[in-house]
């Protein structure tokens, strides 16, 4: 069923967007949406995916100044999906539990918006170490 060659359950084709400025935030979310639409995600889900990418890229610009967003299709036994990996070598997050707490971070005032991103997507994984940077991996499966 899958049109692309795959390694494990993850397809090979990948989009990489270097994130260093607010323009890159727009570029990353537009490319992510294009891929989501290409993978036949609904307009609603494509918007959720683009919004999640926008927030993740924004965190990179705000807290690490530079990093990378990688977006690629994935496939498990019965359905396709999309993976977004946002990584940086920035200062890292001191208290991940606190950063994942609602209210600490949403409402667009300050904070990372990570609980919101988790709600937008199906899978959410964060690895962060102080002084070593942060990697957030999120996935969404097609309905």
């Amino acid at each position: 069923m899958a049109a692309n060659p795959s390694v494990g359950d993850i397809l090979v084709e990948e989009i990489r967007v270097l994130i260093t400025s607010d323009q890159d935030i727009v570029a990353a979310r537009q490319q992510g949406r294009t891929l989501a639409v290409h993978l036949q995600f609904s307009p609603g889900d494509s918007t959720l995916i683009a919004t999640a990418i926008s927030e993740l890229a924004r965190n990179i610009v705000s807290y690490a100044r530079r990093g990378e967003i990688r977006i690629r299709p994935m496939q498990n036994s019965d359905r396709p999906g999309i993976v977004i990996i946002a990584s940086d070598d920035g200062p890292g997050i001191r208290d991940i539990r606190q950063a994942m707490r609602d209210g600490f971070s949403t409402s667009g005032s300050l904070g990372l918006g990570l609980p919101g991103v988790r709600r937008l997507m199906d899978d959410f994984e964060i690895v962060s170490e102080q002084g070593m940077g942060t990697t957030v991996t999120v996935k969404k499966w097609k309905l």
């Binding site: 949406r33 307009p43 918007t47 927030e55 918006g113």
Partner: protein
């Protein structure tokens, strides 16, 4: 990228495009405020129909715009938030509390007129 601002009577209508960067949004904010001051506008309609993503920054900036304009004694109404954008905003935890919204341009104009601020000069 510049956001076009049209004057209609004592109202201003600004149409926000899809791919605005943070810098574009901030520039738009100051241009719009200046415009409100210069033309002594009584109401502003922010049309975000074409906006594909309303993330935390865009949402905060729009809220700030509405607050600044209110301090000038004018009303702001946001129109055209797309259903999927609204859904994503709610999931993200973004509300537009304290900011008036309406379905589209017509309803936005109705709202401003109802507020007793006439659009015909």
């Amino acid at each position: 990228m510049e956001v076009p601002i049209l004057k209609q009577g004592s109202f201003l209508i600004a149409t926000v495009q899809a791919a605005l960067t943070d810098a574009d949004l901030l520039q738009f904010r100051s241009a719009l405020i200046q415009h409100v001051v210069r033309s002594r506008s009584q109401g502003v309609i922010l049309d975000v129909t074409d906006l594909d993503v309303m993330d935390s920054f865009a949402s905060r900036t729009i809220r700030e715009i509405a607050q600044m304009i209110r301090l000038r004694g004018a009303e702001t109404v946001i129109v055209g938030i797309q259903p999927e954008v609204a859904f994503a905003m709610v999931q993200l935890g973004l509300t537009m509390e304290g900011v008036e919204t309406a379905l589209d341009l017509d309803e936005g104009l109705d709202f401003l007129n109802l507020k007793g601020k006439t659009g015909t000069s």
